[in-house]
Amino acid sequence: MKEEKDRQYSKAKEKFLETFEGCSAQDIDFTTVSAEPVEPLYTPDDAEDLDYTRDLGFPGQYPFTRGVYPTMYRGRFWTMRQFSGFGTPRDTNERYHFLLDHGQTGLSVAFDMPTIMGYDSDHLRSLGEVGKCGVAIDSLRDMEILFDGIDLSKITTSMTINAPASILLAFYLCTGDKKGIGFDEMGGTIQNDILKEYIAQKSWIFPPEPSMRIITDILAFCSDHVPKWNTISISGYHIREAGSTAVQELAFTLADGFAYVEAGIAAGLDVDSFAPRLSHFFNAHLDFFEEIAKYRAARRIWAKRMKHKYGAKDPRSLLLRFHTQTAGCTLTAQQPENNIVRTAFQALSAVLGGTQSLHTNSMDETLALPSEKAVRIALRTQQLIAEETGVINTIDPLAGSYFIEAKTREMEEKAEDYFRRIDELGGVVKAIEKGFFQKEIGRAAYEYQKAVEKRRKTIVGVNKFQLEKEEIEIPLLKIDEQVEIDQRNAVRNVREERDNDKVSRELERLKVAAAGNDNLMPLILECARCYCTEGEIIGVLKEIFGEYEEPPFF
């Protein structure tokens, strides 16, 4: 009986292949956006040795390919978390109230470049940058304004901050503390992923070694005192935005994650004391199925390594929980309304891939920071997926697809190849110093650009279906030059009003600790509490740790 079925199958497949070969294909590059080849058809042969229990498991069960929770979106939807911040803390506070009033369920802070790089608003290097691509935060005072009227025990907040993450976390914790909310009641995320800064996002301050020490200090402090905080959001988003392929995003992100796990273990921490609070952050790019396979492969790789290589015992240490943002680099300045559609497809791939949290980009982001209307449409896109399309009804609906399963495995294997190469280079930090990641990503970005220019890859509205004359009709958010002036004055006022003797003492204590081995978090909290500015705290740490410089190459 089975033999007869097999015979029929082989015969039918042969016939299909013959017919297929006989037909002429369109002159299109049938590869993914990452230039990976794709077969015209996947069949049971491509999933032949798939072992359900070993390779997929049930949702909430090892190896978590099908999702980290047993109920997934039947339990609760993903968190709709729009990344937002601009101008003064007051401007952004108003935007947060707007978003919360429209049904957003978590906050996500975008900081301006001076805050990200550790400069106060009145520093010379901040000139022209204050409040431009995020909100300016100089001290605890600004954080208090930012969350004015928002209950930090009820909302979770994600902060996209890396090199100075310890300081912004301290500002946040002090803000809650002053309102009587305990550290253990506050939940949220700091990105705190410095490795991907050296690799892709390039917002570093200190060299890798002291940066990793600060991170392990945060891991240790939070596992004792801030148990609901996600201490690192291991991020592939920026790697992808810098031009990497999907496989590179997957492999480099997870390699970074394992490097943090190893650093934590090397610092004497029990892996299960911090691993449950590590989360991930991926990009939702254009190639629909490739992205879904990427998320599924990520969960499987993480679970396997955490269990077998790092000996994690707590089941929560094995869960790769992740936030997703749709791909900013795929948005076009041309016919910007098309970006709504791009973003919707990308968001759908993230949901079908089992994301825990999602940011959808606004249509106008290649032109400026998003306007209120554009942000509302972006948020509505998520609400539409959740409430109208029905995709939330069933968990991991694409499992068992010959294509998806083959692609998931292929991505896992290709990521493993990269892990081997990184090991050969001496690990992630050594590979960074050798420029390995940077060159891989740079090359991929340039190859993609060439493919677009040769029209092997299409960007609708840019190299195909262009409009002759295009009037951009969407209103743009402008940041008033007054913001910088106001913020400069605000930080100067803070310096005048506080107890400056205490400030000097706390900064000195921090400096001594930085030169030694004590955990820096309690000292940074004391600095924050007496209104030391971010720039002052960073300045003290720079004296001990020095600054990182990247050799320029392209």
């Binding site: 470049m113 790089m117 431009k132 810098a242 740079g442 340039y446 951009i472």
Partner: protein, 130 residues
């Protein structure tokens, strides 16, 4: 044979978005130009200094942090101060249309927006500087 155009590709300001700068640097080099890349986080002073030192024909600025209205004119001014106003400045990044007009009136030679074909940049540079 035409002389090789010398270009300084520079990243002023604090943001680290170097994808565009590097793609353009690669494309200009492949088009036969001599390209010097400053690396990230450069001050206007560092960029003007490098432009003079390297004796380039033109400086290409990539800026995505919103600080373009501060950075472009400052660099042009510094070049003038060093009697190097023959070095032209062009650029690209996240720059709204009305700011493009402002920048051009401040002496920026050309602004290329997102989605620009690198061949258009090459064509422009060859027309102006070869």
């Amino acid at each position: 044979m035409a002389k090789k155009i010398r270009v300084l590709v520079a990243k002023p300001g604090l943001d680290g978005h170097d994808r565009g700068a590097k793609v353009v640097a690669n494309a200009l080099r492949d088009a036969g130009m001599e390209v010097i890349y400053t690396g990230l986080h450069q001050t206007p002073e560092m960029i003007a200094e490098a432009a003079v030192q390297e004796d380039v024909d033109v400086v290409g600025l990539s800026i995505l942090s919103g600080a373009h209205l501060t950075m472009f004119p400052r660099i042009i001014e510094l070049l003038k101060k060093q009697e190097a106003e023959h070095i032209k400045v062009f650029g690209g990044g996240i720059i709204p249309a009305e700011d493009v007009e402002k920048l051009e009136s401040m002496g920026v030679a050309k602004v290329f927006g997102p989605g620009t074909d690198t061949r258009d940049i090459i064509k422009y540079l060859k027309q102006e500087f070869e």
